[in-house]
């Protein structure tokens, strides 16, 4: 005679599942980490020869002082104009005398291209606020990104981040991101 096993009540299954659900809601995070990526220069080893051939016209200085005021090439400038000024400097579209030199180089997909020898020098004071620093970094990144997008649209008909890695490398060669940050030092009191 077969014995009938009584059915196990499953009414509390939902409660158990809810408990697990709530545990995972509390103990986990979903935030995607995003931000501005940078590569720091390696620590100089031993004696550094300061003999690098960077000329005055190739450098675009951006200084942010302790009161979050920004000096571009020595004069006060509004943050909203930084992107356009940086773009004009990097690309030097009219081959002007005071903007960076250009050296012809062979680039894949593009052939002979005059490449601007630009360097952006970013200096900040120890009392500059981090928020301001990020805004400046953001605008400089945006300048490079817009220039890269423009040339990518011209040549490939797509924005820079939709290109494949070879094409991106070619464009990076034309507009390399060169943001140099001065060695921190205490200047002008604190």
């Amino acid at each position: 005679m077969a014995r009938i096993t009584p059915e196990i009540p499953s009414a509390s299954l939902a409660d158990i599942a809810f408990m697990l659900l709530i545990f995972f809601l509390v103990a986990t995070t979903m935030d995607v980490d995003s931000g501005l990526s940078r590569t720091l220069p390696p620590m100089p080893e031993g004696e550094q020869d300061d003999d690098q051939q960077i000329r005055e016209r190739d450098i675009f200085t951006v200084r942010v002082d302790m009161l979050d005021r920004m000096l571009v090439e020595g004069e006060l400038e509004d943050l909203t104009n930084l992107r356009d000024r940086a773009k004009e400097f990097i690309a030097n579209p009219n081959d002007e005398e005071h903007l960076p030199r250009k050296i012809e180089e062979e680039v894949e997909y593009f052939g002979q291209v005059p490449i601007s020898q630009q360097v952006i020098s970013l200096q900040n004071h120890r009392r500059t606020s981090y928020g301001m620093y990020i805004k400046v970094q953001n605008e400089l990144t945006a300048a490079y990104r817009e220039l890269r997008d423009e040339i990518a649209m011209d040549r490939f008909g797509r924005t820079f981040d939709r290109l494949d890695s070879d094409q991106q490398a070619a464009i990076r060669k034309i507009y390399p991101m060169r943001i140099s940050e001065a060695e921190p030092r205490q200047t002008g009191g604190n």
């Binding site: 931000g35 940078r38 720091l40 390696p42 606020s129 981090y130 990144t141 921190p184």
Partner: protein, 158 residues
């Protein structure tokens, strides 16, 4: 009596809740798959700046975090309101960063070390002095790939 019986017949059947556990399990699996465990309790205030030119950090397992900001109110009596560095679960100084990076490297596979990134989660109001010190310490530790953690926004001028 007949009256009552008729009324009983007309009563709507209760909605079956047999599918409820299935639905909840579905939600549970979604959250289990799409989230990651909280690993540290952040003891410093974090109001991250916003930026437009952000890129996402790939491969979270290769990211180490450095938090900088004012200590949370609970710690302010002890530590004051000057911005502090937090590594893992503890307050630290710039001298601890070298050891921190070394231990982070030890925990990863050797082939993955070149891809390790340090994410700086810094409060908006912090002065650059402490950030510069941390960056110098990272350079000394040869952890050169960094990411300034920001929120994403459409316009930074408002």
């Amino acid at each position: 009596m007949a009256k009552f019986q008729r009324k009983d017949k007309n009563k709507r059947p209760a909605i079956s809740t047999a599918a409820l556990p299935d639905i909840v399990f579905m939600l549970l699996f979604f959250f289990m798959v799409s989230t990651t465990m909280r690993e540290v309790t952040v003891n410093v205030l974090q109001r991250l700046p916003s930026a437009t030119e952000v890129n996402k950090l790939e491969r979270k397992s290769l990211v180490s975090y450095i938090y900088i900001g004012q200590p949370r109110p609970a710690y302010q009596r002890l530590l004051g309101t000057e911005p502090r560095i937090q590594l893992n679960d503890q307050f630290a100084t710039t001298d601890d960063i070298f050891a921190f990076i070394a231990s982070e490297r030890e925990a990863r596979d050797e082939s993955e070390i070149p891809f390790m990134t340090t994410s700086l989660k810094v409060d908006n109001e912090v002065r650059m002095g402490i950030v510069d010190d941390v960056k110098q310490a990272l350079r000394r530790a040869n952890a050169l790939k960094i990411n300034y953690s920001t929120l994403t926004t459409e316009n930074i001028f408002n």
